[in-house]
């Protein structure tokens, strides 16, 4: 191992998942692990599943502590990455799991995040058309949001093939509670979550909405409008995204299946399932996979694509490591779990 990586936000779910993957990565050694309010704590207490790292002690998240590594993972609230990146210098590979450098549109950024736009970094979703090349050799990477990862992989082939209409995409997605992080909010208590479902961010106000639209617009080559509704499901991990778009005139299900199969034929992590088999979040938990299936509803004039992912793996830390591999010239799948534990 010749490369070292620092992980900030190491007491949270995203940071913990980065550490889980890096601990199994043959080319990267884990250096500094940092946090804010948990600085000084042992990983063994804060992330008790990371057995081999149990004795590591978290230090404060500062540029000083993060410096001196080949790669720095930022699993911090948005707003923190810009200054740290400047302090760490241009030669360090910085992989930001926050939203700061995802959106091209300054007005979208400002209206959804309420702060000054900071420009974009290469977008860490190599399966999108043309995107892989931007990540090879990059030194700044913006990790996509967990919902955008799932929805974009679910709909990109349909738009790339010109088979669906851009003006009325509807997505309803269910997420596990880890998507909300470890923040202590009443509605995230186990007593509240178990046994029930609820929506949030309804009406186009969720911050992942413009990110989904931006990604689909790039693929489609024309503006795409999305109605996006996220819901909270009684499970710790996983996203199930039901994505529908109006189907173009004369487009058939078999054409769509062929387009999807061709689009992802060479991808190690995105899979159109055999006909008749539907994605389920448990089949991808802990892995970097996204599974897909589609159906055409001629009665309603829509294609329905269902995509399943693990919000913490492909949706966050796995996507981050995959992009890191590309940036560092490593095989893209290095260190990434191909099989999760089920049931």
């Amino acid at each position: 191992m010749s490369l070292t990586a620092a992980v900030s936000g190491a007491s949270g779910y995203a940071g913990g998942e980065v550490l889980r993957l890096l601990a199994n990565h043959p080319e990267v050694e884990i250096g500094a692990v940092t946090a804010h309010s948990s600085a000084g704590g042992r990983l063994g207490e804060l992330q008790p599943h990371l057995h081999p790292l149990a004795e590591r002690v978290l230090t404060e998240t500062t540029a000083e502590n993060l410096a001196g590594h080949d790669v720095v993972f930022l699993a911090l609230p948005h707003g923190a990455s810009g200054e740290l990146a400047t302090q760490l210098g241009e030669e360090v590979l910085i992989i930001d799991a926050a939203a700061d450098h995802r959106l091209e549109s300054a007005s979208d950024w400002e209206s959804f995040y309420g702060s000054a736009h900071q420009g974009t970094w290469p977008y860490g979703l190599p399966e999108l058309p043309g995107q892989r090349d931007q990540l090879i050799g990059a030194r700044r990477i913006a990790v996509p949001g967990c919902y955008p990862t799932t929805v974009l992989l679910g709909l990109a082939p349909a738009f790339a093939a010109g088979t669906v209409e851009p003006d009325d995409v509807v997505v309803v997605a269910a997420t596990g509670t880890s998507g909300a992080g470890k923040s202590l909010k009443p509605h995230l208590l186990g007593s509240e979550v178990m046994g029930g479902m609820s929506p949030y961010g309804v009406g186009g106000v969720h911050r992942h909405t413009p990110e989904i639209e931006q990604g689909l617009t790039r693929v489609a080559g024309q503006p795409v409008q999305v109605s996006f509704t996220p819901t909270l499901a009684p499970m710790a991990r996983g996203i199930l995204a039901t994505c529908t778009a109006r189907i173009g005139p004369g487009v058939t299900a078999s054409q769509l299946r062929e387009a999807y199969a061709a689009h992802y034929a060479a991808e190690p992590f995105v899979h159109l399932l055999p006909e008749g088999q539907w994605p389920a979040t448990k089949q991808v938990l802990g892995t970097n996979h996204v599974t897909l299936q589609l159906a055409v509803d001629n009665r309603a004039g829509r294609v329905i694509v269902v995509a399943a992912s693990d919000n913490l793996t492909k949706g966050t830390a796995g996507g981050a490591v995959q992009s890191m591999n590309l940036a560092l010239g490593l095989p893209e799948t290095t260190g990434l779990t191909m099989i999760g534990a089920a049931p």
Copy 2:
């Protein structure tokens, strides 16, 4: 108590919920409880939560055993109610929780159910415009499906007020596993269900699709097309339906809110929540309530209505008892739980 009720399918989830409600109903005495493969068993073993009925023994589901009651609840697979109804005679109030008599369109019935159309009975969703009157004094009632109940109550006011377009409704709903009944299928095992989500019946093939379209078409006065996708959530009870429709020109969120508030102002079981509060299935579990909230997404040109219900209560047995009350001239809320246990 002067009225007696027989309950068939009493070993299943729907039948068990009918018994739970009837046991608390001040005007109805439970008579025969019948089943098929569980005939001969004690309720205390088959439905151990029904403590006061523990010593009741199930008899075989036959017209003979069901005869002699004022009301007969049929919680059986579809296909069984027609002949039983004929045998029981016209004077008995028969409340059918199966689909046999819901669909007006013979071709819809035949294509979705694959058997001969049997005509319709009064549809037990009194909150739909004009529907309550059909139930008063009725002797045959078709209980709506759990998804149609939730979706129709979620979208009816928008269509009744002419505020949305009929040609591109999209609904994605999550259900608890009790919606699939007690059938022993591998994908319904706890090990498979817990911790994950999956879709089923995708592409307009779920049998509740034409029932939803029929109900919305009646309210809209013109054909409504619905793309409906159900998903299975890791919870025992509850439906969360995310219903979206293209909003009509110039329609505002406040107009919609007013339409909904007015539509349900007098309803004891359907509630538009105060602005800012969203439905959650746990707030209605075990009750006959449906809670609603809506948002307008001007960017996407859609209204999103989220509706929460208990698939076994308002979605099946509660709706059945509510309709029974109307048919028998009792106050509509008699015997129906107004507060469930939470968390």
Copy 3:
């Protein structure tokens, strides 16, 4: 209705459950509902399942606000009830869900709670030998803890019949997360709770330990020692207590079954299940029931009694209302749910 009740701690799980039961109680009208940090909030937002009470607004928990009612329920942290009781006066029926007045032993109180002993109030578990009489007409009632309720009902008949040894009782119990209240602690987050189990308070340090020992000692007429280990299960409600004691010489399983059957023959809420059927928490959720079953393991020389309860109902609010009924001269079962919703 001629009686009024005030409920403090109305934003929490215990207070919410008291309100759920009182809302269905035919002889009691709900008066003031009070809280501390949530004062000023609507019940519709804080306890959205309490539909009929949605418009009630919480006031501050003060003696002034609680005064003027026939009954006052205190669902507050321990330490609060003594002063409030003094201020409210001797004529008011005060029902305290906290621990303050449960333990006779000042040294036990001081070593487990770390504050000055306040004496005891009548202990609200009428099914214990001699206990019901103390509650009739009482004006102060100490509601038992949820674990003691379950364990004492599970073991009392064995000790009352002199069939087990007092010196080595072992109890391991699993509780739903609502037992820990709504406090915002990381280990109570849904992401942490779902899909796993963990112990807490191991080694005889849980505060319910001396309460269990006190109750069993009273029944046995000699000191009883208990090893008690609680565990946290991935469910919102319910306690499953596995209680074992060394069996006395020559005692048989059928003798024990007879002792239990006789002990609870007249009890409306405690039930020895038929042989071969075992308690499960879901069969009592939302109800005031406790179900029991026992087996004798001659190889190990122990009787194992398993008891299932709902920690919020019989374990807290239901027990409180049952005791209130006795204190006020009402039928003991008034307003108490006999059938919960399952599955």
Copy 4:
């Protein structure tokens, strides 16, 4: 890779977990995968989480199909391994996940399993005193049961150090539903399991009881009696075992901690947690680890040891692969997951 392994019972949970681990094992290539009723099916459909193996097709479980491999894993119901082993020959390493060759006592075997005793094979729990040597070079291995694995690792150091009494051990354990396999039984349906807990096999009748007693008796050098009660928890994986024994005269908590620390100091998979931290099943899910913590309750005269494991990994397939590594002369940890996915 020079070694090949066949896996029978590959459609079940145990077989699936063996495949998950072998797919990540650098020295073993997966050969035949066999099943009974699922023969002819694709792994992609039956075990959809095993992505890299999706195209493998199951063949019938016969000696012919299993022959020609270096290692054969039997994940079959008990009763099947004896004849297959004879047919496969003495040179093949056979690892049996069923109970056939675990119990030395013919009378225990016959009374708990009701068939003829078949003798014992080396017991695949290398962390027990003296056990590792029996596995090195073995060609027959009996994989311990999931409960015995967890309980024996939890109590062995206390007995090895002579610190506890042998005559009154009490164990209560909670398991995830995968412990019951994929069998289609009503009480294993998600609707029944979610949100509740229940016991089973109470009173010393669970088949793992004599296996636990046998293991502890070996370690203690004198007969050990155990009262064992298993319970079913609403989670897919994991065992939490609360193990208590009467503490010997004068034994202190620090002596016990030292005994445990020393006993497991060199073990890669069994860990006494730092004082104050308690085992939780989620911290070991998907891994081969067992975590332990203990407390002494002087009031009750007992030590309480809590042990957490994954019933499918260390409790079945992980233990099997660990033993295979020893038998084949590979490093003991080869191919075994050290970090699971959490939360």
